[in-house]
Subunit: 377 residues, 2 copies
DNA sequence: GTTCATTAATTCATTATCTGAATAAATAAG
DNA sequence: CTTATTTATTCAGATAATGAATTAATGAAC
């Protein structure tokens, strides 16, 4: 971003921006754009000179832990992706300390393989209700224990600051960083995948609930005596939309094999989707029902939060073509037209990569704040 | 509030507070507490001298428009209640311009009767989705028209600034002003009465949706083929909990007379409640069902917003004893215990008075801002 | 090519805002 | 009556932000 743009953005005069950035450039925290990098100027006048964070201020590792897989990513301080890794590893069966040991080892190994010697912080995204301030996982569908001090445990093992975040919140943050439209007003990001989560942004900032966590929207009960959910309840949104729910029901319909790991992988899910697209009526009905639940869910979000944007994202969007007819019918049948018109609904095809991107961005931002504090002192 | 307290509250040094308040006291905007008014000091040290807004800076009229009644209130600039009035008047049948004429006349008459010659602003609370910034009622269950520029219409007729607000938001604001606990963290106020509304506060500030309105939580559909709702849908929260819904069903059960006005009054509702308390099984079942819906509603709020406080308020709390057993059962059966424990649930018996208090407070605050701007210029 | 218009960035004196430290004021406790 | 304690004010000094003027770098026009 160029200096004038920064000024307009935060409402300061160019003079002030110049003054403040000058010292940061001196200290090497910011670097000015190389004139050669700029394309030919399209508007007359002196061209903008953009400022970037230096890439040598250390790096951050982002990690996402699913039911039976781990995603890792290494990003430098300029925000550039340096490396990423995907690991299949069941985590559900592990006891709390084992889990933290495995994660710490995985992170250390990843840092070693990628030659990252300047890792300044770790960002971790996981399912469940996460207290981001205290770094505690209050509850998670993938953990047996409750109130697990995951950040402290990892921080101790790795001797680095660890930031943890709900995975849907992390993805919402990443999506908003990629699209400026989602950084103004209110944006609700409904993530459908292994589970169903919701990240809610107000003016680009993540909404924080009572314990500085996000939302557990996926466990809103939509149908009084609906299917069993991982949370112990029945009829939750997740119990219709999540991969495990669709796979479980597909298994009962056509006796397909159980997933080799605890949760179905991408191939298994694609198999179901393909078969439904080919016209299998029972599977089609599954997706039709899931679409209806998705419509009901979005309707609740609209009537409760009145967001400017609703983003449907995550691996579950792979079947959006199958979900859409019943989704739209359900949405229309139960929202006041004036309110429905206010919310723009977007489908963002997003893989799990974005999750690690989200936590990394948050961790980077925390580092920026630390730098600012350091500078102030 | 005393000067030191103001300083602690807004994070400024006593020196700055003294300096700023001194000019306001000079201008007569603030008045210092009379030493005689203070009780005997309970702590040693120089006693606090509290500052109040002067009561001669003009007054504000707050008005609430229901289906068939109007509530009015006159408040001076010190925040003291000067007069209030309750009028039975069906408004539903009026055309937009007629409605604004009637409201303007009612307000003028009220000001005349109470001898208020220094009215500086009007605050109006009504049901529906209200754009508080533009002063437009986008949609309301009590209006035939849509996108009615109510604030502009009234402002023109009365030649004074008019602020409009959703009624549940106004009540939430008033409740939070009365209880400081509700001004930190997140507070969701579920108002049950003529309809069902929800006002949501973050750090004491009203949450604003896409068009700077509040929430239409009362029209979340809870049961797929439930009873008819005023919004045109079926199975909305309101269609179980609102006065009109309970009365409609009670009429079918025991053939009680229809309400004389369009909506049942307080006496009619009390009649139903008394009869249920006396043991009428069919009426008891009505309240049991309503309690269940209330539990489901609060569960959605908890899993979606994770508020620190949930306040159940409005005339509908008159039957809380009848609602409570099924309310608690429904709530427990579908929330994750860790999350449920985070939200404190309060029942605040609140009459419609609070609605006018809420809009008056907001209008007063707007005036304060204007004064501040005036002073700055 | 030279000049002009246009936009970006910087310099610097000025202004507004807030604060710490010292002081005065008002009370309760001993 | 003295001392401890808390509140409020005064005032010089620190800090941050800005407007106006200036310098810089480019495209467009001739």
């Amino acid at each position: 971003m160029a200096r004038v743009e920064i000024g307009q953005h935060i409402g300061m005069s160019p003079a002030s921006v110049s003054e403040l950035t000058a010292s940061l450039v001196d200290e090497g925290i910011l670097v000015v754009e190389d004139a050669a990098d700029q394309g030919p100027g399209l508007i007359r006048g002196r061209p903008k000179v953009r400022l970037f964070f230096a890439d040598s201020l250390g790096s951050v590792i982002g990690i996402w832990t699913g039911f039976n897989r781990i995603e890792l990513r290494l990003v430098d301080s300029a925000g550039r992706n340096r490396a990423s890794r995907h690991i299949e590893r069941p985590l559900r069966s592990l006891e709390a300390n084992e889990l933290m040991d495995v994660l710490a080892e995985t992170i250390t190994a990843f840092a070693g393989e990628t030659g990252a010697t300047d890792v300044k912080a770790i960002g971790l995204a996981c399912q469940g209700y996460v207290d981001t301030r205290d770094g505690v996982v209050a509850w998670s569908p993938v953990l047996g224990t409750r109130d697990l001090p995951l950040a402290a445990g990892l921080s101790e093992r790795l001797d680095k600051p660890v930031l943890i975040e709900n995975d849907a919140s992390a993805m919402a943050f990443a999506i908003a960083q990629r699209n400026p439209d989602f950084r103004s007003g209110r944006t609700a990001c409904l993530m459908v995948g292994d589970g169903v989560g919701m990240g809610f942004l107000i003016q680009g900032e993540l909404y924080r609930g009572a314990r500085f966590g996000g939302s557990e929207f996926g466990h809103v009960r939509l149908r009084r005596s609906g299917p069993q959910c991982r949370c112990g309840g029945r009829g939750c949104i997740e119990a219709y939309l999540a991969d495990y729910a669709l796979h479980r029901d597909a298994q009962l319909i056509d006796h397909r094999p159980a997933p080799t790991l605890l949760l179905p992988g991408e191939e298994a899910m694609n198999g179901i989707v393909e078969q439904a697209r080919a016209g299998d009526p029972a599977l089609l009905h599954l997706f039709q029902e899931a679409g209806e639940v998705l419509g009901d869910s979005v309707a609740i979000l609209i009537q409760t939060l009145e967001p400017d944007h609703i983003v449907i994202c995550g691996p579950g969007t792979r079947a959006m073509d199958l979900l859409r007819p019943s989704f739209e019918a359900a949405l229309e049948s139960q929202t006041i037209p004036e309110l429905r018109a206010l919310a723009a609904i977007h489908v963002v095809e997003s893989s799990l990569d974005l999750l690690t991107e989200g936590v990394v961005m948050q961790a980077l931002r925390e580092l920026d704040l630390d730098l600012a504090r350091l500078k102030a002192a």
